[in-house]
């Protein structure tokens, strides 16, 4: 069986077992993604890990995506891998509320997700329910805003060329002592 066939077979097993939780399945360049309803994400992950046929025991990571100005805005993509069967699959969960986004934590199923979810909390502002340690991880603890959102500015400063050298110099906060 080729890798792609294995992935579609795995997706079918999940879809058959939990039809209420899966919205749709799509594939792109050989990668199979299941779009999961966010309320059922923990259930789907638990099934993927514990099912005897699937055995998706390696949690590779969870990435957050911000589709601003589309709605639903935030999506979390979970990358799972099975060591025994050498199959990888992606689960995508669109977070429902755009203004106060929140989703359940999968840390009880996959402890590896702990820091990844903290990063999403920090960078996107998606509240992770039942997370054992919901603190900011990459930015300082008193940082305001969520940097990877599309409406957060990059924060660059004007590049200092020779024609605007003095103007930029006036505003640069040099340390005096």
């Amino acid at each position: 069986m080729t890798t792609f066939e294995q992935r579609t077979a795995a997706a079918k097993i999940i879809q058959d077992a939990l039809p209420h939780a899966i919205e749709r399945v799509y594939e792109f360049r050989g990668d199979v993604t299941l779009v999961v309803k966010p309320a059922y994400i923990v259930e789907v992950c638990r099934f993927c890990r514990d099912s005897a046929e699937l055995q998706f025991d390696m949690f590779s990571g969870v990435s957050g995506v911000d589709y601003y100005p589309d709605s639903p805005r935030f999506a979390l993509v979970y990358h799972l891998y099975s060591l025994r069967n050498n199959v990888s699959i992606e689960l995508k969960a669109f977070v429902e509320d755009d203004d106060e986004p929140s989703i359940d934590s999968v840390t009880e199923v996959y402890p590896a997700a702990n820091w990844f979810e903290r990063e999403i909390l920090d960078m996107f502002g998606v509240t992770i329910n039942n997370h054992p340690d919901p603190r900011r991880i990459l930015t300082p603890a008193d940082w305001e805003g969520h940097p990877l959102r599309k409406d957060y500015p990059l924060g660059y400063e004007t590049v200092q060329f020779s024609f605007n050298f003095d103007e930029v110099n006036k505003h640069k906060p040099y340390a005096k002592e």
Binding site: S60, S63, H79, L83, Y110, L138, L148
Partner: protein, 413 residues
């Protein structure tokens, strides 16, 4: 002298409530800060240790001191401009990062890579692995007291950096691997220098083993320390030498071969005990296997183009611009706007010297990436560090951090 106001990292014990045990608040255990500036933390890592005497009750790593916003900066640059930033992410494995990002772009655009470029990419990725393991060995041994090993390792590393400089003009931040292949063809001086290195290097690995492997001081400081079981390693998402040191046979170069790794014969070293010593042995053996792969690759290096000929994504050579109008138009389009991959998302995994390096790339059809997320091994291994550290002595923390082989640029991006 200026007095600092209450910056967050100077906070009191209340901020750690829930992370350290209750005994810290009564004073039964001591909370010690192994600060961001420390000779043995391999970069700016802060570790908060809860100690009972010398024994570690809990260990909380605090990262983010090198957060560079690389992912957000990449969203504002064209795909090929953003490639330059990937070098700086894991700065001990520059070509490996380039490779992962380029593989993601090629998967997204369905771009072919000629076999010559694929074999060269394998050679460069393995040289990068050897170079990273040399820095690991030098710093790890230096932390545990074997200072001369560091000087030996950096001497070997200079030869590899000379080879990178021959190819791309830069020692470290080469940006040599581009979408579609390589930046330019290999120069004639490269092959003799590489063969010379392959003849000279295995004897040096034997030298390092002679100093360390059966040294009773080294064995005392590394055997039985920093144990992680295979089940725990899988649960916490570990990969690379950390996972293989515990006996789980998973190497992405064998399991999900990329860039024609399946054409080469090599072994995957495994440990048994999951401690610091086994991870050390795994990496030493990996260096030898890398030499084997490079030897096979350079002996069978195919001829042909070094970059894809698909002009929608790859710029034409300068010689063509003189007589072909299409070449000029492609060149203009690529330089002003950049190429536009189709809309979609991909996830690509490669085996970096630290573990599984993944790149999740989302494209909206425009010339700039919509979202690039790097799943970095150091980030995951640091989250598994408390499991490896509990119950050991404070002098072992240094050895454990060294054996996980973290790079803070990789962790914080």
């Amino acid at each position: 002298m200026t007095r600092l106001d209450e910056s967050q990292w100077e906070g009191d014990l209340e901020t750690l409530r829930g992370l350290v045990s209750e005994r810290a608040f009564t004073g039964e255990t001591m909370v010690l800060n192994m600060g961001p500036q420390h000779p043995s933390t391999h970069g700016v890592l802060r570790v908060i240790l809860e100690l009972e005497g010398e024994q570690i009750v809990n260990c909380i790593p605090d990262v983010g001191y090198l957060h560079t916003g690389i992912e957000k900066t990449m969203e504002s640059k064209k795909y090929e401009q953003a490639l330059v930033l990937t070098d700086r992410k894991d700065y001990l494995n520059n070509l490996g990062n380039n490779l992962t990002y380029c593989l993601a772009i090629e998967k997204l655009c369905d771009l072919d890579v000629p076999p010559r470029a694929q074999y060269m990419r394998v050679i460069l990725a393995e040289l990068s692995r050897i170079q990273s393991h040399l820095v690991w060995l030098g710093t790890h041994a230096l932390d545990l007291g074997a200072m001369s090993v560091m000087l030996y390792c950096f001497r070997e590393r200079e030869r590899i950096l000379d080879m990178f400089e021959m190819l791309s003009g830069q020692r470290m931040m080469t940006s040599y691997i581009r979408p579609g292949g390589l930046w330019r063809d290999i120069v004639p001086e490269f092959e003799p220098a590489l063969r010379d290195f392959l003849n000279y290097f295995p004897a040096k690995v034997d030298d390092y083993e002679r100093i360390l492997t059966e040294n009773p001081l080294w064995i005392d400081r590394t055997q039985g320390i920093g144990f992680i079981s295979a089940e725990d390693a899988i649960r916490y998402g570990c990969s690379g030498p950390v996972l293989r040191g515990s006996g789980v046979n998973w190497d992405i170069r064998k399991a999900i071969p990329y860039s024609s790794y399946d054409h080469f014969e090599f072994d995957v070293p495994l440990g048994q005990h999951g401690d610091v010593y086994d991870r050390y042995m795994v990496r030493i053996q990996e260096m030898r296997q890398s030499v084997r792969i490079i030897q096979q690759a350079i002996d069978n290096l195919p001829g042909g183009p070094f970059r894809s000929q698909n002009r929608k994504y790859v710029p034409p050579p300068r010689s063509e611009l003189g007589h072909s109008m299409e070449a000029v138009i492609h060149h203009f389009k690529l330089w002003t706007e950049g190429f536009r991959p189709p809309k979609g998302e991909v996830y690509v995994r490669t085996e970096s010297p630290r573990g599984e390096l993944g790149c999740y790339l989302v494209s909206d059809g425009g010339p700039k990436p919509w979202r690039v997320h790097f799943r970095t091994p150091s980030f995951v291994h640091l989250s598994a560090m408390p499991v490896m550290t509990r119950g050991y002595l404070i002098a072992d923390v240094v050895g454990i951090i060294g054996s996980i082989d973290i790079t803070l640029g990789d962790c914080d991006r």
